[in-house]
Symmetry: C2
Subunit: 225 residues, 2 copies
């Protein structure tokens, strides 16, 4: 499958730096702007990875938007990941698929995707993170770190459990859920590879500026600026 | 991909007789019975093909139920097709995937699935049916033939347009939508390869008997009984 996609080279093992600012799309939060518009601005601001999420969309809509975002991310040199839908990820030649605990099992996805596709797994607990690493996950997402309207089905993970997760695994961790410029430093202090954001960028009046502010914070925190 | 699935031999070109009684699952119509319970009874009654449809389910739920239905259909010698989700179809080693006009494009699905997976396409019009055949569809479904609560977004196709569709293509056509024992003969008279049913079987108090009645009608109409 990976061979059929015409990918020139594998992204595995994944350079953690490519996850440093990981923006997840959300149409409902985007103030009426299209995914293309939001993602273009986020990339201009310094997003390094984009995840396409469209839970109630038709497959055709995911495919259409996915192809557009694949082109934008390729031009920007950013990672492109599709949430949940392995078929869409493969069809649009995404770099990866992100799987939650209620999505396809990791081993099944790897069997179908071949050796090159990145597979990210949502670790709702430290134990799930360790298990996902053992099963070959390329990176981990988290359950919401802070309270957020996007994923409110469970108590937030919090910074202490996030730090334990980061320490328990060798693969990169992208923290997500309620992260914004005001708490980004605390999150980065746990040793995460990247900040995952939805509303802090997607819902911002100035998407590019919001992404640039977070990218600047990451640079500063790492002593790069 | 098809090679990885361990399929012994290709089902293409598809024997139209395998589509003669094509039952589509619907949890909301099943009177609280599980898909496994309904499908087992339908197969006992003479269903020759099962399509798994679970539009709002998680991928994990589709995978779980899909694996169970794959086992049941394999034991019964029946076709097993997954609606919309190519990744689930491949993961559970289904015989085919059924794609509507808002699902993945046929050519993309064929590229990802390899040469052996059956691909059925919903033809909402004669023109779409002809186009799907040209693009390599293995069989066609239809938009609703009669008025039905399941798919009420459009005027029913009716028997005249169904007959034109059947005559316009060489690949087998499964008529679906509002079909039951009371109108099955009229539908069969158009030359369709099979009857597609949802509520007439899935919602029946006695699923096995409902499937057996339809199977008997098909046999009788074809002079086999």
């Amino acid at each position: 499958m990976a061979g059929e996609s015409g990918r020139a080279s594998s992204l595995r093992p994944l350079d953690p730096n490519r996850l440093r600012l990981y923006v997840v799309t959300d149409r409902a939060l985007a103030r009426g702007r299209s995914e293309v518009e939001v993602v273009r601005a986020a990339l201009e601001g310094g997003a390094t990875a984009i995840q396409l999420r469209g839970k109630d969309w038709s497959s055709r809509e995911l495919y259409r938007v996915g192809r557009e975002l694949r082109q934008l991310t390729r031009e920007a040199g950013a990672l492109f990941v599709v949430n949940d839908r392995l078929d869409i990820a493969l069809a649009v030649e995404a770099d990866g698929v992100h799987l939650g605990q209620e999505d396809l099992p990791l081993a099944e996805a790897r069997r179908l995707a071949g050796p090159h596709l990145l597979i990210g797994i949502t670790a709702e607990t430290v134990e799930q993170g360790v298990a996902a690493q053992e099963e070959g996950a390329d990176y981990l997402g988290t359950r919401a770190i802070f309270a957020t309207p996007t994923k409110a089905y469970r108590e937030p993970m919090g910074l202490d459990e996030l730090a334990r997760l980061v320490q328990a695994v060798q693969i990169p961790v992208v923290a997500i859920g309620g992260i914004h410029a005001g708490n980004a430093r605390q999150v980065l202090a746990t040793g995460v590879a990247g900040l995952g954001v939805v509303s802090a960028v997607v819902a911002a009046e100035d998407v590019r500026a919001a992404a640039a502010e977070l990218a600047g914070l990451i640079q500063a925190e790492r002593g790069e600026a």
